[in-house]
Symmetry: C2
Subunit: 161 residues, 2 copies
Amino acid sequence: MDRVDSSLVALRRILRATELFGRELAESAGLTAAQFRVLQVVAEKGQTTAKEISQQMRVSQATVTALVDKLVGHGLVQRIKSLTDRRQINIVITETGRRTIESAPDALQQRYVREFTALSDWEQSMIVAVLERVSAMLDAEDLDVAPVLDAGDLRQPGEAG
Amino acid sequence: MDRVDSSLVALRRILRATELFGRELAESAGLTAAQFRVLQVVAEKGQTTAKEISQQMRVSQATVTALVDKLVGHGLVQRIKSLTDRRQINIVITETGRRTIESAPDALQQRYVREFTALSDWEQSMIVAVLERVSAMLDAEDLDVAPVLDAGDLRQPGEAG
DNA sequence: TCATTTACTTCGGCAACCTAAATAACATTC
DNA sequence: GAATGTTATTTAGGTTGCCGAAGTAAATGA
């Protein structure tokens, strides 16, 4: 097998690992993957809006509404009307929500971080360089991607509305 | 931003790029991502069964049945009863199906392959080494992954087979 | 032969999407 | 300051993807 193939296979494995893990992670929190992703976004921003979530996740606002409904039902987030712009509804994470996120055994990322930090300096540099190179080769868009490794983002991107 | 974060961000970008691309690819063929994935699996094997597809994609047979129904509706695959085991139904790609796959502008992989092959020898080696390393760090299972880079597989990956 | 297993489909149901349309509120403009 | 447009969100209705359970048909085997 030549190197192109080897690299493609490795990429596929990476994708597969993150995807499979994403589901488990969500399920360990009693949520679906999509719901967990929303919760993560809210947790990351602390406070956000349906619009922001829909842009970040690249799904329609309608979808976000439905997902947030579920999270509200679970008591993980709250909807609070914005005072500055009464069209807006801020979505804030609750204490329960934060605990849910924190207690989720983010095993994949933890393992990755653990192993990564155990590597030597030059190995770390090499990995960063290569991943960024590959990312550029795939022409990944220049989005503001938070440093959270989570298959979540890749399941229901959609060009959203 | 430290190197762990940089690598995670790059990984996310890679995941996002492949996922977003997967949808476009499928849509360019007038199919959904899941349907396209099935078509790819069938194309790859030339002839297969519902069971095999469900294992490869890690979805239930019921799901495969539904997806294959769609593809049959589009005239992209055919169901042909096995002669050796009459419980089995072989799913074979049609000429139309093959053309659909072939004409799908597999832009992501094409670009990747083009850029990859343009790299110097040592760069290629480095990329392969790093991707395999990362893949191992994420503990991607040891599956026989075909050398096809396609976001498809990451949505309902399978342990292949 | 009769029970079991295997391969597949059908059915009912849920989650995640989407678009279009409805609300409500901010923004403009004449 | 009323009409018009834009923005933020939800509601309604529909499709797809997915599952488990149950059903059918065929192979297997005791």
